[in-house]
Subunit: 365 residues, 2 copies
């Protein structure tokens, strides 16, 4: 990585393609004078968008391809059609070759993950990549993973997730020893799945630079009890979407309540400064971007339906992750962790035996 | 069941005991003139509370016991200490003997479930009971189960949950054919756990009086997409608590936003009618009460830390469940379902084979 950050943008991904991805890139470019951008996709569609944004002048390079992966393509289809030549693939390859520090794509999650694994491969010692989300909390933010790369995880994979999440927290929140917890259904040690219990034992006895908190429950996540919350992808995805759905639902209640009377509408008008701040805080575009962790390269998945503001958040996140040298620190930490785990395994009778929940990779079928 | 509804109240359960349980019972008594109450617990503590509530006059009977299960008792301890003689046990036994139609307890979940299973036994054809929660939606409410009776569920158990949830929806929402969905991480058929897929196949081909919707995701629950959302207890518990946590978190954001300026505070004062309505809608006490389904008797678990208003909601719910004859309809529907499932199993190669996620009963260890 040089002093400048090079960001590879899959300009064709997402529901809106270049109009959103180029505009979002321009918004982020203003905030990051040290960034330059490689835009992958159809030159005919990208060039006119670049012309609209003076902020991109001298900072972008287009890598033309007329192959784009459809938003509804299954991972296997995407791999078959998009490998070697699609905008997603070429963006990934730029990172692999060292021409870029991070990839941003609003393409479909399954296709992006399948291609990312195929192109970048996982970090040695990591079985499976995970997707990490930045989750707003009462006071600030925390990291939750896995939110949907895999269904199910054994103890060893959960420990991997803890380590990768901690590395991301170190990079993003600038804390030396992030606090880490496992998501569970109760705080008593007797509760929960076998693999969660085994991961708990392994993490509790590890000597890694994390403050291991133990278990948290669903309502602790948004309270910001810890920096990193670890769970397998099925539960993590459902928790994340449930939180998003609840926020949307409450916003609807709020609108309905305020519109019930003239007095309420006047009150809401007077308090509009407060509500604007609240709306901004609850705006899902502010924290747009799932981070693929555990690959030899950083990949940021933007929400497919987002606008330029949301896409810019994903680019910002990619910039911060690249700047902090996330991949190297994950690789380094995982090596240490593996050693600690193997020591721990001798005492606890193994952490990766007899997983009780089968792990299914989402990205490969 | 006679025309009057008899409600067995474990007066000793919860963080506050008789002051809350008796006051809550009194609040509900006013709303349900057809109800009478059996209060189980320490007469010395209950009698003075009853004297405070004229509404209970002539409607209550105390069944004295000086044994109460501690709120932090493990299920096995609770069974050992509380069987045959505790307030929870005697309340359950009243239902078993036909002296009461429903039990309300704010005692701890694990202990209550362990004793309920031991005393009431499961309905024939049901492997494991589930806990159903009533979840507020944009337009009204839906039922989500299991929210924590078990960790993990195989396809057959998920189908059981669907049937029991549908019976509850029929009773509570007065719909003939409730819509039912399985909670999953995506709407594509390829996604999700094996057991969820198998349950999907079984439900899609069943001839039962439900409208089977297919899969929903976490954000669909609060949107009220279906009447009944089925999942296993680990994910269900985390989803429920995540939604509760998110609501609490947004309420905190809201307070902070409004208190930022005088103008906001004035606006909020003018709109206070609207906010009161909103607060009421979001008040967790309004929907207090987990329903234990699949036992030969209805058991309602109130939140342990709730106040009289919250406890009264749990009593109201118990009254409605008893009035609708929920147990009989579950038993009837399950018999039909079992037959349909066995037909389906021949075609699909079995719905209850090779569960990929081990089921662990929370209540028994």
């Amino acid at each position: 990585m040089t002093n400048a950050i090079t960001i590879a943008v899959d300009a064709m991904g997402g529901d809106h393609g270049p109009p959103v991805s180029v505009a979002g890139t321009a918004l982020s470019a203003v905030r990051h004078p040290d960034a330059r951008f490689l835009l992958f996709g159809d030159e005919q569609l990208i060039l006119p968008e670049i012309d609209k944004h003076a902020d991109l002048k001298g900072k972008v390079e287009i890598v033309h391809t007329d192959v784009a992966v459809a938003m509804d393509a299954r991972p296997s289809q995407a791999l078959k059609q998009g490998r070697w030549k699609s905008s997603i693939w070429l963006a990934l390859e730029a990172v692999k070759r060292g021409d870029a520090d991070v990839v941003i794509s609003a393409g479909n999650t399954g296709a992006l993950m399948a291609m990312a694994k195929f192109c970048l491969k996982t970090v040695p010692g990591i079985d499976r990549p995970a997707i990490a989300a930045i989750w707003p909390t009462v006071a600030s933010e925390c990291i939750v993973l896995d939110v949907g790369a895999n269904v199910g995880a054994d103890a060893r994979q959960l420990v991997n997730f803890a380590e990768m999440g901690a590395a991301m927290a170190r990079a993003l929140f600038q804390v030396e020893k992030p606090s880490v917890a496992l998501l569970n259904v109760g705080v008593e040690e007797i509760k929960g799945l076998d693999e969660v219990k085994k991961a708990n034992t392994a993490l509790a006895s590890s000597t890694l630079p994390v403050r291991y908190y133990g278990y948290v429950e669903g309502d602790d996540v948004g309270q910001g009890v810890v920096d990193v919350v670890v769970t397998e992808g099925f539960t993590g995805n459902i928790a994340l979407k449930t939180a998003e759905g609840t926020a949307k639902q409450i916003a609807e209640y709020f609108r309905a309540a305020v519109n019930r009377s003239l007095l309420s509408r006047i009150g809401a008008f007077l308090a509009q400064g407060a509500f604007r701040a609240l709306r901004k805080k609850m705006d899902p575009r502010q924290l747009n971007g799932g981070v693929f962790l555990g690959l030899n390269g950083i990949v940021i998945k933007s929400h497919g339906g987002t606008d330029a503001v949301g896409f810019a958040s994903a680019v910002d996140l990619g910039h911060d992750m690249a700047r902090s040298n996330l991949c190297d620190s994950i690789a380094r930490d995982v090596t240490k962790f593996q050693a600690a785990l193997e020591d721990g395994a001798e005492e606890t009778g193994g952490t990766d035996t007899a997983p009780t929940r089968k792990t299914v990779e989402q990205g490969t079928h």
